[in-house]
Symmetry: C2
Subunit: 368 residues, 2 copies
DNA sequence: ATCCTCCATGGAAACCTTTCCATGGAAAGC
DNA sequence: GCTTTCCATGGAAAGGTTTCCATGGAGGAT
């Protein structure tokens, strides 16, 4: 392997001092053309690569950001992570990936690690009350930005989706379809999106004068299996709901599986709307209506905000709009025969309601 | 923010030398109980956090690994990344995430960055001929492990799936179903899995005496959109295929969308089998038959191999088995009425063929 | 021609830790 | 009781870079 080549070697070959070599290599203006020429040539010739550790030891800048999500396997966070990582790279920053797995302890482990690694900033989809290491971060003045979620009591810029309007839009859509008993599968209350969406749901139900039966509200953990459990629970109450609003896509998949096992026909017996848009949700059986949020935009915005904070500014939080996309899981179109059944109508705040007539939960097995 | 607390402060408070403090904090055995006690107390009291940069500058160990995948938004790589990251964490390593986006230039950018960051090792799903920085890595002796893919001419331990047997199993299954013209949507030939699976496909077709028409082979780029383009292309040849084998799940989604647009009924007009298992593929319309590979096991194995390399050993490459899971997209079961249609038969190398009778590409619209 | 200014340069300190080496003291062995 | 061994400790060097400070030379202004 040989000794690694240092700036000293470059300086020697270029016949300048290490100081000059450093200035040239880090693009300081105080250099002569001659020196620039010789140093860059020497560096190239030796295949010199600056040592990031040494550099950041001296300059206290690591050009590293920490990205804490709950789980990259959740397609929503995969999108966020991908977008954030690419945006960071474009600015010369590398990204430390952390999967907290919706676990406060793992979250703390990672925040510790970020501190240890002296990251220049942290983008986090936080979990829990934010007592532990989240507090240490702000205390130590580590630039911090929240994405997707927030934590109460933290004065931290954030990028979130408009949970309230998204939820209302979905409920309004289902109400127009004639549903009065709408079930809700939400996330844990220890997560802001879990709380906000649930609250918005309750308010929207009230506004539309629908059945506020608390038995119609279930709380999962944003992961697939819990979606199935919640769907089973909701369908087991005396008068089961005729429509379901689900707070994220993994739980929607879980619910879908559970419902199928129960022989519940989605879009026919029960309407379904889920949060998060993912390409393949439109390829499901049936295609899923969704409250879409632009995860990539979220990731990019988070990076932008973080760089603002790093730069000493105090950016405003960003709330991104959501957008209801109605597909067959909540449009009651005929499942198979109809070609191109519903032309995937886009933002449809006041779309023409196909059939405002109440649709009783028909337990009949025959095709309509 | 105040000055950050260093080991010097800890030593001062504990009334020992920095040397002793260092030894205690890094767990050297050459310390007295008294010193251990005083130093740890002081460190806790001051909230001391070692500076990873300084530490690794001296010890040339960064406890960081680089993980280069093509795109975390691909659920397969999301699984790999998640598993690898968690396994690394368990060993006290942090993971630098890199999305090469199937782009050789971005790949090189990242490998440069890894070099710059002095990662202790790299796990890569490599792309291209591996001329550029991949070579620099091995040249500089950076521990390297390939995952999912390999590059010819590189003596690098790898974790891959058994592409050959997976492909054969899928083709055998389709052949048993009576298909003679099977279409193939593969990846780019610049990627080993793209080449290997395509080669295996061609061989399997020959072995079964099926139609080796080269017009039935299309090459995408492993990303969703290309799956659609390829499906369109394949269905446009004079005598279109009656079954499709697709080399990864994003392209399968793209193909599914394209086929649906063409009013091709999957599992009826055309059978479909795709590589990669992902939970929701079984929730698609229809549920997709897959050649499943255990992405999480791959990620974990890659980390294990990498630690072996870091530890100076030379581990054997690992080839993980694949497993054909037949679902409705290639089992011709009645789509809706039949409850629990096919009990998702597991590894079925010699499963009872449902109907060895050739099934002509019936353009009839009637249900069987 | 002289002085001043400016600027590129070299040298050295600083960043924070680990690790090597020497030292001193205590325990152990004769 | 004296020597040897062992081991915890302190001090200092080393790791590679950036940055500060001083210096010297060149060019411009008077």
């Amino acid at each position: 392997m040989g000794r690694t080549v240092t700036i000293r070697d470059v300086a020697a070959l270029a016949q300048v001092s290490v100081g000059t070599a450093s200035r040239v290599l880090s693009g300081s203006p105080a250099t002569s053309a001659a020196a620039r020429e010789r140093v860059t040539a020497a560096a190239r010739r030796l295949g010199y690569r600056p040592n990031a550790q040494a550099r950041s030891l001296r300059s206290t800048r690591t050009h590293t950001i920490g990205l804490l999500v709950s789980d990259v396997r959740n397609p929503f966070f995969a999108d966020v992570a991908h977008a954030a990582e690419q945006a960071a790279l474009a600015a010369g920053y590398v990204t430390l990936l952390a999967n907290a797995n919706e676990d406060t302890r793992q979250q703390d482990t990672y925040l510790e690690t970020f501190l240890f690694q002296r990251v220049d900033g942290v983008i986090a989809a936080p979990q829990g009350a934010g007592g532990g290491d989240l507090a240490s971060l702000v205390e130590r003045g580590v630039p911090l930005v929240f994405v997707d979620r927030t934590v109460e009591g933290f004065e931290v810029p954030s990028v979130t989706a408009d949970n309230d309007s998204g939820t209302r839009e979905a409920v309004a859509h289902l109400a127009r379809r004639g549903h009065t008993r709408i079930g809700y599968i939400g996330g844990p209350t220890s997560i802001s999106t879990g709380r906000l969406r649930a609250d918005a749901f309750v308010r929207a139900i009230a506004e539309h004068g629908l059945d506020p039966d608390p038995a119609l509200i279930a709380h999962g953990d944003f992961m697939s299996a819990s979606g199935g459990r919640c769907a089973d629970a909701l369908m087991s109450v005396p008068r089961p709901p005729t429509a379901l609003l689900i707070a994220d896509s993994p739980m929607a998949i879980g619910a879908l599986t559970a419902l199928r096992r129960r022989r519940v026909r989605i879009g026919t017996d029960v309407d379904l709307v889920a949060f998060d848009d993912v390409e393949w949700l439109s390829e499901l059986d049936p295609p899923l209506s969704v409250v879409a949020q632009d995860a990539a935009a979220m990731g990019r915005a988070a990076v932008r905000l973080l760089f603002d904070v790093i730069g000493g500014r105090t950016p405003e939080s960003v709330v991104l709009p959501t957008r209801l996309i109605v597909r067959r899981s909540s449009s009651g179109a005929a499942p198979e025969p109809a070609p191109e059944p519903v032309p995937a109508q886009g933002p449809a705040p006041a779309a023409p309601a196909p059939a405002p007539a109440p649709k009783p939960p028909s337990p009949s097995k025959g095709r309509p």
